[in-house]
Symmetry: C2
Subunit: 333 residues, 2 copies
């Protein structure tokens, strides 16, 4: 668990997109996002108070989160003075970069000297069990996709926000690096050892109140040959009661696989349900979450109507048009 709240480090981000991780935290966990730290030349702005390390500490910040990615995902030497000073002033550091904090001997030394921790969310911090398949109490919804990067994390976060707004018990369960920084904990599933993948998801979504919903961030796709095994482990470890089918309608081929076309939503529904019912025979598909960011509004609405009629399931872009109808369907289960 990463101590909250955070000071979000934007460093020397060349543009807003480079601060995407920080933006995700600010959008989805505003209560964790106390302020931003920008270096000279930073061209990103989250609209949060600019704070010095001392100001943020005084305001209660406990972790400096590296919310910026530069080319190659490395820890820039230009950031080092700030990172050392943060450790000296009592901050933990958290990062989702490929290049790990723990592989920087100078940061390790400073952290040890000051009793602070380095949180590399890209690598598992837990020894996960092997999945036992035992039915758990509480309810679970998993976002499954036609492809990678079609909006599964945003879908789960939108569902959580809408459920909480209605006073329902709901927890977003992060399975990727950005999701973990947003939630403060989770399982970096793509970095888990094969034998423990499904077990890590059982661990992440334990027994809970009968009316509590785990909203599980999906990964990959059953139809993406590079990562499909990760997806199936999520489906079997998560034991979902409900699937939300995620799709991006302008994609012309599977991400990173030019030779592979996308499956239809019907294929996603059928394959995912068939596999999900091995672990939970009662699993159903409750709706479609369509990422319409590349469609003008009228076209987006037309696509949603057509999808809804074809699939016989509520279809929405939960980020653009709200997750209400998906939550209606989940609440009605």
């Amino acid at each position: 668990m990463i101590p909250t709240p955070y000071l979000l480090f934007l460093g020397d981000a060349p543009d807003q997109l480079a601060a995407k991780v920080a933006q995700g935290i600010r959008d989805w966990r505003p209560e964790f996002a106390l302020g931003q730290y920008r270096m000279d030349g930073c061209r990103a702005d989250l609209g949060l108070p600019d704070m010095s390390l001392a100001e943020a500490r005084a305001a209660g910040a406990r972790t400096l989160v590296i919310g910026v990615a530069n080319r190659g995902g490395v820890i820039s030497q230009a950031w080092k003075d700030v990172l050392h000073a943060a450790l000296e002033q009592g901050f933990d550091l958290a990062s989702g970069l490929h290049n790990l904090l723990r592989d920087e001997p100078d940061l390790v030394a400073t952290a040890e000297r000051h009793g602070r921790r380095l949180h590399d969310v890209r690598v598992p911090a837990v020894k996960y069990p092997i999945a036992n398949g035992v039915k758990r109490s509480g309810r679970r919804c998993l976002a499954v996709g036609s492809d990678c990067s079609v909006g599964k994390m945003y879908t789960a976060l939108c569902l959580e926000r809408e459920m909480r707004a209605r006073g329902m018990k709901a927890t977003f369960r992060a399975t990727g690096q950005t999701g973990i920084l947003i939630a403060g904990d989770g399982v970096p599933l793509d970095a888990v050892i094969a034998d423990f993948m499904a077990g890590s998801i059982e661990w992440l979504t334990p027994d809970n109140d009968p009316d509590h919903w785990d909203l599980i961030e999906g990964q990959g796709s059953l139809f993406h040959v590079s990562y499909s095994g990760v997806t199936l482990a999520l489906i079997h470890g998560g034991q979902p009661d409900a699937l939300v089918l995620c799709h991006e309608p302008t994609r012309t081929h599977m991400r990173g696989l030019p030779g592979y076309g996308l499956p239809t939503l019907e294929q996603v529904r059928d394959s995912a349900l068939e596999m999900a019912r091995i672990a939970n025979p009662a699993c159903v598909a409750v709706g479609c979450s369509i990422n319409t960011q590349h469609l003008p509004e009228a076209e987006a609405r037309r696509y949603l109507e057509e999808t809804e009629a074809r699939m016989g399931l509520p279809a929405t872009d939960p980020f653009r048009f709200g997750a209400g109808r998906l939550v209606d369907a989940l609440a009605a289960l």
Copy 2:
């Protein structure tokens, strides 16, 4: 790659079953199995010449393979004198035990002093790529199962032996610890990091002659919720042209999962084919490999006939009755 031939170390094996790994090497790679090394009290016997370390070295042995498992899979202190002496006399050591050779500082020191290598086949020795899904030349057959431990490794090995006897080009591709010790190399798939599972299988089964068959050892089952993700990565990384459906008819529930019944062979066929055709649309199921070890012969033959009629595919126990009809089906593709 583990240097061959081997001297098979049986240590103080309390019974024949404890030497199962050595037995597998002796059965499937007799050309690697130069002799056996037994300590006082050893109750296993492979029917190989008993050799001292010096005799085996003189006969050309290059690696001492720990072919015995004791309770907990640990490296027994009682073995240590022999293991040190082997390193001193020029042997590499190879082991598939949970407890790694490399985690024994005394063995590491002796190996370094004598320039020998410690081969822990339980952990990957290669940095595998992420799968790219590009179609490879050559042909591939994958054993898929209704459950774990139903005979997928033996099936692949039987197919290899029969193909080689017919002069066909064929290579067993190991994906588990015992298979790797038998073959001398392979991928310990259950220990691979999630993101690289499918890529490790692409690496294991590269472009080859158009008439060459890779016979890929299966792992887990799409229907086994603890390990299904590993199975799907094999299906998508392996791009099989042909599936052999493996089953053990006396199993009453999924291995280690008392609450889960076994799928039918029809379900295994349908789910595995549907997934396999994402990576290779031409994939077909060619036959059924039934592990009849717990059935008397008449009952076994009846079961095979019934299965063959029901599935419309050749059904055999390749270890008990030969793999000929399965190879006929593969050769006819």
